[in-house]
Symmetry: C2
Subunit: 234 residues, 2 copies
């Protein structure tokens, strides 16, 4: 029995309950004590226990049901969470020099596949921008972006030679929702040339589609130079 010099906080409760789960005091599927009981045991308010348990639930450690109580998850479905990397920040965080180059820019009618992806009407005008991001002078990421001009008309006149589309959009259209897809692909001709790798070399690809409250804003393909790794902890 340990002396309780300080008040019990929700972090203490969370940590202790987690420890007891790890130590097999409560095995997978086991029913945990109710919030009222835990509050009595820890000598704190039920609200405090509630917050602790809520976080354990968010973390995928336990499952909670009204009337059913809280149970240790059978197959803990942990979640990874990591920040969406902004290229510039990502490069500068490594201590490397960031540099950006605009390769091409044109206003066109959206090709069919893009119409489908963004769910925009036929003949929607989009701005297509290709650019390259360097780390310490070496190609780091090739960016192939399409911006929906009916959602962001001001993008038509933006100077993407001065400011990358990425940063322009962040400053102009923040607080969007997005879908991200990660995959591996082979470096096709122009991409291989730009990233200075062999044709067919394995490339880490990020695709992102972005909406501003229902309105499709942009679709972008980010091709990373060889050796790129995305890292997360949980």
């Amino acid at each position: 029995m340990k002396a309780r010099l300080l008040k019990i906080g929700f972090r203490d409760v969370k940590q202790d309950v987690f420890k007891r789960i790890r130590s097999s005091e409560w095995g997978p599927g086991a029913l945990l004590p109710g919030e009222v009981d835990l509050a009595a045991e820890y000598g704190c308010a039920r609200t405090t226990v509630n917050r602790a348990m809520q976080e354990l639930s968010d973390d995928g450690i336990i499952e909670r049901r009204r009337k059913g109580g809280s149970r240790v998850r059978l197959a803990p479905s942990r979640q990874v969470t990591f920040e969406i990397p902004r290229v510039r920040a990502e490069i500068e965080a490594k201590g490397a020099d960031y540099c950006y180059e605009l390769l091409s820019s044109a206003v066109v009618k959206a090709p069919r596949w893009l119409e489908v992806r963004l769910a925009v009407p036929n003949a929607t005008r989009v701005r297509h921008v290709e650019s390259l991001h360097y780390a310490d002078g070496a190609p780091f990421q090739f960016e192939d972006r399409w911006i929906n001009l009916s959602a962001v008309p001001r993008a038509e006149g933006a100077d993407f030679a001065a400011l990358s589309p990425n940063e322009w959009l962040v400053s102009e259209v923040p607080y969007t929702t997005a879908e991200v897809r990660f995959s591996a692909t082979g470096a096709s001709g122009s991409i291989a040339t730009n990233l200075k790798t062999m044709s067919g070399a394995p490339i880490f690809l990020t695709e992102r589609t972005t909406w501003l409250a229902e309105a499709p804003v942009t679709y972008v393909r980010l091709y990373f130079a060889s050796g790129y790794q995305m890292i997360a902890r949980y």
Copy 2:
């Protein structure tokens, strides 16, 4: 002015504040009203506002400081969160048949590179297991796993022909912490053969290192068949 039939909840506050940020009522960097003021405005308790703001902070929309107040983030650093994919669940979720095959298993001394990765002493014994996961009869994922026997002695006698190492570990050693790395690589000989792709084909690779309270448990490389995508929303 809308009629307020129901009590204001933290979700309402969160959503409304977010809407006001998106509508540029509060631009990037702007100082938001204090919790007390917002509580008065919404006609609810400060605790309710606090929870809403806390979540907006977690979501990367705003930044909060004691005494400094809450501000809209200049560069919203949104976070992606997605579930750690369990192969079986992932395959069955697609409505495909899951099937598993053990390719090889051996107990050996950890090679040097693994010693370094897991930070284990020289001559640590590990179990090396190679296996293949099928979706509807087609190779889906090749698994190359190393298990630290000094951390999980029981793994030495486990029957990985019946149960995949993944599922065995989840049932035996749940609630671990982990580091995950995603990258693209080329299919080398044995991997190409097993995944039935051409040698050199781009492969999506997941590497995961797992600890149980400081003790390194396992390191695994997961090679996915061509066309695999990892998807997340935020």
